[in-house]
Subunit: 189 residues, 2 copies
């Protein structure tokens, strides 16, 4: 099949190429190693609360991807009441972003694969955190978020139950709900 | 004490006002409710893999903060092999950013509070993910990261053990390692 014939036949749902999605499923079914991904980031501390992450290549779909041409820079800061200059979101706000961006894409991709059209999709998040553990004033509170609440408003052909089931495929939701082992290694230079 | 006298006396370590940090600790010791924070985010799906988070106000230090004047916009995308246009990091890459930005700040703030000078601090992260669960090809793999490895290179007066102990105060490390309850509510409109 020529490239032209392929593009004519491609089914696009929610802006996602559902034909290519189905092809990926078939490719991974034949060769499960294609499903292995390794994502990466590097971070450099600047001063005070300010630090900068650079994101370039990753491994996936059987090979190194985008190492030379791909480069994103993301800054983190803290608001003034947390002794920062408030130049960017703070790390726990980025966690909320990561979570809802992932939930959103899980719904959009799964719906595309199933031929379900999404019209609009918006979300709001709240995360509760008590700083006493960080400040070493309490052993009873945890350091991280105690609870996170996500509310989606969706206009689509799907039922609430279908939307819920599709959102549950989110990789970040799995990490945030269930935890992931983190190996933390520190070298002095 | 006048504002001027305060600023003359402030001890700045690693770009952090250690005098203000100590004042926050004392304030929270007297009134633990000042340690309660609620961070927030809203996200709007754009098309395909593209969605946009807006971060404005939060609650903390006893009152609403920054709602009118504070506004950050963060985009999420996906690379081409994941059917996107690669216009921004993807959600699982933002999770690595959130984690390492938080670990970095935990070290820098705790060191400042203890009078330990940090000269340089850099980190690299790798996260392993298998897409088979998302593609509904396997029940044996989890959806999220299987493992995350963080390597810090630090030039400072601190020992590796001190740096490790300070990093463990990171709120995002706690969430990623141990998980946090997420209440996911979906409304159709």
């Amino acid at each position: 099949m020529t490239e032209k014939a392929k593009s004519i036949e491609a089914v696009i749902v929610n802006g996602i190429n559902a034909t290519e999605y189905e092809q990926i499923v078939e490719n991974v079914r034949e060769d499960p190693s294609l499903a292995k991904f390794q994502f990466r980031a590097t971070n450099v501390w600047r001063l005070g609360e300010s630090n900068r992450t650079t994101i370039t290549g990753f491994y996936g779909a059987g090979e190194e991807q985008g190492y030379d041409e791909r480069r994103f820079v993301v800054d983190a800061s803290e608001p003034e009441v947390l002794l920062g200059k408030d130049e960017a979101p703070n790390p726990v706000e980025y966690l909320l972003h990561s979570l809802t961006a992932c939930l959103t894409s899980a719904i959009v991709y799964k719906a595309a694969a199933r031929g379900i059209k999404i019209e609009t999709l918006e979300s709001t998040l709240e995360g509760d955190l008590d700083a006493r553990a960080f400040l070493e004033l309490s052993d009873e509170e945890r350091k991280g978020y105690q609870n996170i609440r996500v509310t989606f408003k969706v206009r689509s052909d799907a039922t609430i139950e279908e939307l819920q089931e599709m959102a549950e495929f989110s990789p970040v939701l799995d990490v945030v709900r269930n935890g992931t082992p983190v190996r933390l290694r520190i070298e002095t230079v």
